[in-house]
Subunit: 372 residues, 2 copies
Amino acid sequence: MSSFAFHLDAVDSSTSGRAGRLQTPHGVLETPAFMPVGTLGTVKGLLPAQLKQSGAQMVLANTYHLALRPGEKIVAEHGGLHRFMDWDGPILTDSGGFQVFSLADLRKLDDDRIVFRSHIDGNLLELTPERAIQIQEDLGADCIMCLDECPPAGETPEKIRKAVDRTTRWAERCLAAQTRKDQALFGIVQGGVHPELRRRSAEGLLALNFPGYAVGGLSVGEPPASMYATLDCTVPILPAAKPRYLMGVGRPEDILEAVCRGIDMFDCVMPTRNGRNAMAFTSAGPVRLRNAAHQRDLTPLDPECPCIACTRYTRSYLRHLFVAKEMLGPILLSLHNITYYQTLVRQLRAAVIEGRLGEFRVNLLARWAGAP
Amino acid sequence: MSSFAFHLDAVDSSTSGRAGRLQTPHGVLETPAFMPVGTLGTVKGLLPAQLKQSGAQMVLANTYHLALRPGEKIVAEHGGLHRFMDWDGPILTDSGGFQVFSLADLRKLDDDRIVFRSHIDGNLLELTPERAIQIQEDLGADCIMCLDECPPAGETPEKIRKAVDRTTRWAERCLAAQTRKDQALFGIVQGGVHPELRRRSAEGLLALNFPGYAVGGLSVGEPPASMYATLDCTVPILPAAKPRYLMGVGRPEDILEAVCRGIDMFDCVMPTRNGRNAMAFTSAGPVRLRNAAHQRDLTPLDPECPCIACTRYTRSYLRHLFVAKEMLGPILLSLHNITYYQTLVRQLRAAVIEGRLGEFRVNLLARWAGAP
């Protein structure tokens, strides 16, 4: 696993923020890092060269979606996901579990397996820890995830405890099933918003000595304050020398708060999904481009942003694209929002390295609070 | 008008094919040329840099669509279409007439004006020759078009004759209405598939001494052979020293045949529209990427094509994008098809310059005939 060495460049003194570098077979990931989501082997609307230009170093793809379409064997015939989607940087795949619980029609769940119906054609399928690893080995990402049970927000503590214990048993099976040594398998800490269950989950997984740890089961409907409080009591249990990944998070303020609590890696569909819906993240706060106020606005979307949408076009033109339902609108705003997220994590990394993350956070929160 | 000098580099000996260069305020257009269609100020799904990469030198935008959305005054406030859409090469706008006849709900048509309802909101609007010029002056394209009456295919000769005469009268009014000297106003020859009406139309327009001439009213439903025969009797009447533009054409074979008959410029939505629908033009003939035959096909779409879709991806991946309804499918295939068209016109230009267009045509037709 030396190809997955994680080096801490700096730890902030006034927060728990870290700046690191994760070595992978497809290059180095500088952390804190945000991974754009390429569900089906494409970050919607963007070419790999555009993603690179945004500053993205690693992308995420979804095991559940790719196993259904086109099927992991077809990806394997290409030599894996990197060549399939023409992304030569690091890739992370999830285990498929989250999508089975959120998208598919769940038919049966026990210690052995999850039986579910595909959301596409209703076919009856099953997922086991072994199958989740086999699919991810066929896909060939650099970082892969254990199959976990992700209970919905608001589930009873008793049910969450059962999910935690099952997640730990499944993690053992995933580890045992892994045959490729060129993929880093991450354990996923569950436990809802219950500190004692988070501890129980982390301790069970730490005994298995994974090369990286994810925090799952957050951003599933709980208030942001609960998420931050849960991170406060979960992250310190995780080993400092290994990368920490907060799954499916989140809004820019969530990323700021989680970095201050010691998280290194993030993924979220928000920048691309919101971009497709004409909502832009900007240094002056969110902008809804369909708003009539932008009809004759000849200023750039975000004068501080280096992306093509901001340097080559006006808000008026971008609004026109959305009003006229032109594909270029979603393309340009996805590119912009991804660039915004990459700029944010790069600034967070610089702030950690320069020992001023606490100050950076105060200033950024004040700026966001003052935004219209 | 010296900024619109048209220089003939070569005329083929065995056909009527020409290779030329049209000077415009935004650079030189090498002919034969194919203009991708950017209806609403964007070639659907493609960034200007991608268009440039395809070899495209000039794009077309639609006056009718832009006048409705966002309105020509907003484009003018940007300093014109070039800056609005970030295309620094030459642009051509049509007059809006074709869309009024084909898309809008036509309410009244007389010598003075066309009254119609917008296809977007049903608003009652009118178009006159003077208004068509005013909009196009606000948009600021390099080449602009006279308002013409484009009767549907199969109209009676008497009605087509009336349309021809009205088109000539409107051409006079367009010329009189033109105030900008940095735009080349093209006359449009109408006359359906009737040689004597084409001659009548051409002669009426030639008296007005336009800097370029378009052939309109073709590719509106008539058989290809009728189109070619109409070109055979129309193009020779047009002055050799001025550019000739065949509007809205067409399939690769139509472009080949029209170039052999002395046409210099083309536009058509086919490469982008078909690309969005998973149909690719290739050197081995058309390919429908949704076809199950491509599911595990690891070969490139067209090994002879230099575009990103062909050099970076497999047919299997491209098919997957369409099956999964991913935006990148339409993007990559639009880029590919535009590249295919640009490659075709570049090859035609080279064949003319090297005096082998006749041989090139025979070989290309044989190759297409042998395609599956």
